[in-house]
Symmetry: C2
Subunit: 387 residues, 2 copies
């Protein structure tokens, strides 16, 4: 039943619209970029879909990434989930922490690659009697990230033990994995690469490297014929990991648009306060919009001081006004606001009319990174694939 | 199959342990505090369980709050959910935004109270022909929060229209609702109350007020015989809304403990870096612990600069070290670390050995409030009721 005067809002909470075609587009973009480096053979691409595919939903991501060479997850449960979604290609488990031999041995997981970080995990492999499983193992170099992996001489000893397992037919392949600490900084990236190159100079075998920040920058040019695989996550969802550069600047398409309804439009007199802590005081008569999204949906409270939203299909930019509350936030629509309750407000991504607010811009306004915004929406935000 | 050397971690991700008895304890604490004010009749208590019961799970909260006088939710879907969980008492819908007459008229919702914020919603009520439904309506005073509700003279006109609906038998009761903007500041709270008292001085009827910050402070002393209901949310979950005061300081018990396993313990030499951006550099040889929780679980990245965790059952405090990553964070366990992989790390709440890290302390380290931490955990964090 619709009722006189009050708009039918459908839902009064936010939703995250997922554009699966954008994810496919971004993978194709990445393939072209990697191919353009001219390395032979062209490195294969692990599409990293950890953290529920950077918040976009595993099912959406798996459907959109059928052309990836492999999918990389961090959680053994996600490995089973991805297989249940019909993915038949290689699968990379980014951490062997907590992993059990039953999982490694399970033929239901198909072509399985695992990352080994330490001697505990190595001992697990050695005790596993996985003959015939065809497991692929990547030994992680600790590098500057420091929290995972090994460095020489322990790295060399562990690699030699893995090579023994390969010779014994327990492993199908052994290689080297590097996870950059500072790929958004060209100088730091160059140093990290040079340290890794020095390490693998002592040990044969393929390499597995890259991340979104490195692939936005100079990475393809630095590839060599030992780079068998490149890993990439954030870029596939249309966001850049480089400061001051958006995915759109690079030719990527944003895969998530976070939207919420305008619940109410209220006239406020000059000098009145809005929000907890009387945190916003109007300088003029204006209209305040109440938007149906708040910090309990995963929007940082820190958004309010520098954040903007896009109003309506046209995407008129309007500033946040007053502290973000649990279920709502408020914007200053201005004295001539054309917006009405029921209008769609866009927190990041694209409006129906094609306006775009990059998630990277919103992240900067919240003093954080796009990956935090994308991955930390709560269960109260439904994901809805664009048709 | 357990394996030589590597601990069985069960799950390598975090979980939020929910102590339902603590929620019941906190409600009893609040009842005593309200009764001690000596007002007759003693105001009744709305237990506010918006945002999935401040992140604790509606089912846990409804089970623990059977002694509340009423339950308050913000979302019509939650109203139905609470009824499906067996709650038979009064139910308060904190916002009529997007509400439809079908919902208001539905006898399955039992004794229903709704908050009216504007003339749109009033017109909906007038058009609704809800005779016999026995709906209770609270008109919201805009006050200093500004984003919801009305102020005189519009408030008075709306109240008169509601009184007409009551006389016509369409509404069972009409009253006044106030939502404080700055209850944590005693001077601001006094002013807000005085403005509300001036407003309701012109209009008869019961009042519905209070919030956790006001109830931690001087609120009970300020009650009068028109205060029929007090609303309280955060306090019931054991957290304080007052700066520098924890729920435990007040005699409350924390209802949520967020824990994650220690995935790995790594020796790091003096001068080596840890974390993205090489954000932590050790000053000495030490052990770094990798903890299975990160920003994709809803932990703010901002935790790393000033945050601490409690290690093991005993709860040894250890500082965060290096930027929080998507699935993990790192702590400096020190050169004599007794911890082992598989040990439980507590991000807030209580350890098995009774040590306690207040969520308010963690929130301060992240430059935010306890309510944001509690309500913004993602679906990747299972809630587990203590037995």
């Amino acid at each position: 039943m619709n009722t006189g005067g009050y708009p039918h809002l459908g839902s009064w909470g936010p939703r995250a619209r997922i554009d699966c075609q954008a994810i496919s587009h971004n993978l194709a973009w990445l393939r072209r970029r990697v191919a353009s480096a001219g390395t032979q053979p062209v490195p294969r691409i692990w599409a990293v879909i950890k953290a529920n595919a950077y918040g976009h939903g595993l099912a959406h991501a798996v459907a959109a990434l059928q052309n990836a060479d492999g999918l990389a997850v961090s959680d053994p449960h996600d490995a089973y989930h991805v297989r249940s979604l019909g993915w038949g290609g290689p699968l990379l488990l980014l951490s062997a922490c907590g992993l059990e031999v039953d999982t490694l041995a399970d033929p239901a997981l198909g072509e399985l690659h695992v990352v080994i970080d330490d001697e505990y995990q190595l001992a697990l492999l050695e005790a596993s009697r996985l003959t015939g499983r065809g497991l692929h193992v990547w030994l992680r170099y600790a590098g500057r990230l420091g929290s995972h992996g090994l460095r020489d001489p322990a790295y060399g000893r562990a690699y030699a033990r893995l090579q023994s397992l390969q010779r014994a037919g327990i492993l199908a392949q052994v290689g080297h994995l590097h996870h950059y600490a500072s790929a958004e900084d060209p100088d730091a990236l160059r140093q990290e690469r040079s340290e890794f190159a020095a390490l693998v100079g002592h040990h044969p075998g393929p390499c597995n490297t890259g991340n979104s920040a490195a692939l936005c920058g100079a990475a393809p040019e630095a590839l060599d014929d030992r780079t068998q695989w490149l890993r990439c996550g954030l870029l596939l969802f249309g966001a850049s990991a480089l400061p001051g550069v958006t995915g759109a600047d690079l030719g990527l398409r944003p895969a998530m648009s976070l939207q919420a309804p305008l619940l109410a439009v209220r006239h406020i007199r000059a000098g009145q306060t809005v929000g907890y802590g009387e945190s916003f005081r109007t300088q003029r008569d204006t209209y305040i919009g109440v938007v149906g999204v708040g910090y309990s949906h995963g929007i940082p409270r820190s958004l309010w001081q520098h954040g903007r939203l896009l109003a309506g299909h046209g995407g008129r930019p309007v500033p946040a006004a007053g502290r973000v509350a649990m279920d709502t936030l408020t914007v200053d629509l201005g004295p001539d606001a054309p917006e009405q309750p029921g209008d769609v407000m866009t927190l990041w991504g694209q409006t129906a009319g094609g306006a775009h607010l990059p998630v990277e811009t919103v992240a900067a306004a919240c003093s954080t990174i796009a990956a935090e915004l994308l991955t930390s929406l709560t269960a109260r935000v439904p994901l809805q694939a664009d048709s």
